[in-house]
């Protein structure tokens, strides 16, 4: 009977906590009226995950709340992982927050379904003119601006200066660096114990789509569900170069092609690769984690035949179309996006801010950090890519493009087969 009593005790405890759980109700409810009666509370679902960024966002919200007693903002902290599914459910169930933090490529389908408010009439004119048309283009669907573009990342090359010098290579110091230069440096720095380049391409599509713009490789024509795809020389330029470096020059560490960007950093720190291509945000991580004595530099932005162009896929702030307080939400976002505020968020996240004023602010904040010079320079060539206008891009990327690129980079299929898979796959997805 002791056995039964033990189980009974656990059962009793369970019933007790169950009773308690019935009393627990969440606090999130969109656009609620405050206790003051006239005060409005806006729900702001923030995905900022770095402690410094969370602190920056909180500081901005606190400042707003202190100055605007009638419109209070409440941060609802969420994480990036699983956000798409969460938002689908929130929108379907009518419980989405007023203000939504996400990224341009992922909000296209929400915009297509009519869940996001058109912010064209609410955006501060000074802010509007301070952000490039290319970046605004990345958050414009059917002529409607569906989000404020906040921060962006570019792909950058980080190099171990000592290994380059040991190989007799002059460190590029121009405004840009061509792919040919990258290929030459990678070859020159490849030895018996070191590879010239480590590139984490476990999830290759984003990098391919972004860097292909440097060769005029836009992939898509048209918008929404009517978009068509073309995969020709300009679209294949980047994967073919990487393939050539990996299998002809043998200057890319083969294992790195199957790793994430962060995984490759260990090889970079350990002197096993002379260079690594990373998201620009890694500059801060490298500064923090690189072993003492590692003489690392950020190289100039990569330039293709069409220039040092990359895709702008910014993080975004949108407003729920069903919010009763679209105007108030936009007012808050205009405040959040002012130069100083956006600079503090971008600097904390080690990302490139979308506006000129915020970039100036980051330059001031990062005055003693030379890597930031190149990070900000790489942001100059960011343009809204065609894929952001394509409704089923995310599905195509996950189900077609990523496995096709992975197979090509593993030397399992030819570039012609890659092109066919990308094209045929799109036609299947788009129906």
């Amino acid at each position: 009977m002791k056995r039964i009593r033990g189980i009974g005790a656990v059962a009793f405890a369970g019933v007790a906590v169950l009773a308690l759980s019935g009393c627990q109700q969440g606090s999130t409810s969109s656009g609620s009226d405050g206790a003051e009666g006239d005060a409005v509370t806006l729900q702001f679902q923030s995905l900022s995950d770095q402690p410094a960024t969370q602190a920056a966002v909180k500081s901005i919200v606190d400042e707003w709340n202190a100055e605007n007693e009638d419109v209070q903002v409440e941060i609802v902290q969420a994480g990036w992982d699983g956000t798409f599914d969460k938002l689908i459910t929130q929108f379907s169930g009518g419980t989405a927050p007023d203000i939504i933090h996400y990224e341009a490529s992922s909000i296209v389908s929400f915009a297509a379904d009519g869940y996001l408010a058109d912010l064209s009439d609410y955006i501060d004119p000074d802010l509007k003119s301070d952000i490039s048309e290319g970046i605004w283009d990345s958050v414009t669907q059917d002529g409607q601006i569906i989000a404020y573009p906040s921060t962006l990342q570019s792909y950058m090359v980080f190099a171990n200066a000592d290994l380059l010098e040991a190989a007799g290579v002059e460190i590029p110091s121009g405004e840009t660096m061509t792919w040919e230069e990258l290929q030459e440096i990678a070859k020159a720095t490849t030895t018996d114990s070191t590879y010239g380049l480590g590139w984490g391409l476990a999830s290759p599509t984003a990098a391919m789509m972004s860097l292909s713009l440097g060769f005029d490789g836009g992939f898509f024509d048209g918008e929404g569900t009517d978009a068509s795809i073309q995969v020709e020389d300009s679209e294949l330029a980047v994967p073919e170069r990487i393939h050539e470096m990996a299998y002809t020059d043998k200057s890319i560490e083969p294992t790195s092609l199957t790793q994430s960007g962060s995984d490759v950093l260990a090889s970079f720190y350990g002197g096993k690769v002379a260079m690594t291509v990373q998201g620009s945000f890694q500059a801060t991580n490298i500064a923090n984690d690189a072993p003492e004595g590692l003489n690392w530099v950020a190289l100039p932005p990569l330039e293709g035949s069409a220039g040092a162009v990359q895709a702008a896929n910014p993080q975004t702030y949108s407003v729920n179309v069903d919010s009763e307080y679209v105007e108030e939400s936009a007012d808050f976002l205009n405040f959040l996006m002012n130069g100083d505020n956006l600079a503090s968020i971008a600097y904390a996240d080690a990302l490139i801010p979308s506006s000129g004023a915020a970039r100036d602010g980051v330059e001031t904040l990062a005055a003693d950090d030379p890597a930031w010079t190149q990070v900000l320079a790489s942001g100059e060539g960011l343009e809204g890519p065609p894929f952001l206008k394509v409704e089923k891009y995310t599905e195509w990327k996950d189900t077609i493009a990523t496995p096709a690129y992975q197979q090509y980079l593993a030397d399992k299929i030819t570039s012609d087969e890659l092109a066919a898979r990308l094209s045929d796959g799109w036609n299947d997805v788009a129906g």
């Binding site: 009977m1 056995r3 039964i4 033990g6 189980i7 656990v10 059962a11 405890a13 369970g14 019933v15 906590v17 169950l18 308690l20 759980s21 019935g22 627990q24 109700q25 969440g26 606090s27 999130t28 995905l47 995950d49 770095q50 402690p51 609802v76 902290q77 969420a78 994480g79 990036w80 992982d81 699983g82 599914d85 969460k86 689908i88 459910t89 929130q90 379907s92 169930g93 009518g94 419980t95 990224e103 990342q153 999830s203 994430s260 960007g261 962060s262 950093l265 260990a266 090889s267 720190y269 350990g270 096993k272 998201g279 945000f281 991580n285 923090n288 984690d289 690189a290 072993p291 993080q315």
Partner: protein
Amino acid sequence: MITRRPWYGTALMYAALAGFLVFLGFPLLWLLSASFKSSGELNSLAINLLPAEWDFSNYASALARQNLLPAAGNSLLVSLATMVITVLLSMPMAYALARLKGRLRAAGTVWILTSQVFPSILIIIPLFLVLRSINLNDTLFGLILVYVTFTLPFTLWMLQGYVAAIPADLEEAGEMDGASRFTILRRIVLPLLAPGLVATAMFTFVSAWNEFFLALVLLQSPELYTLPIALRSFLGAEGQTQLGPLAAGAILATIPSLIIFTILQKKLTGGMLAGAVKG
């Protein structure tokens, strides 16, 4: 006549057992080690089982930053409640399923199997709408109900196997001694079913403890987040992972599970039926 196992047989058995323990325990050991490593060491090529320098800041940042303790409390509450309700509901149902004959039993079996077919993502939006209509979305109680619904079919299936293993002769013997159906259940079946109940309880607890997707979608208030949601917040945009704090958080998240298992595993003793019925 009992033949003694040769010494090398025993040695092999212990070696296999030790190997199995290492296989199971190494990931946990590595996780523990990672939780005390600095960011620089975690991002280096050095493979040290023990940290080069013990760094406790991962625990500090895990506890301070990601609201882990309240999330652990929520997870514990939800998991225990799910476990208790599921076990209480599945016990009589499993007995009926195992002992009754006829169409109802067949229908019950079909229901159990059918309910396992649908992936949760398929029904998440209707589920969300239903919960919202009864004001149970964004509540732990609503999440518990959903977990019970999802775990009940399998636990029922599991438990009815345990019931079926109890010889009906024992119940018949009780009946002949004049015991009522309820007395038979309470005095004979329930004690013999204890290991099965514990196994079922453990399965239910772990299922609820580890569940991520439903909690992610159904809970919107940060103060109600469960541990898996809190831990996932260590994964950032662009695939960034804060490995040290994540490892520290995962270690902290493992502790309640270990305590529950330590309490329950003692009850998981087999061989209770030995000698109950003559062959």
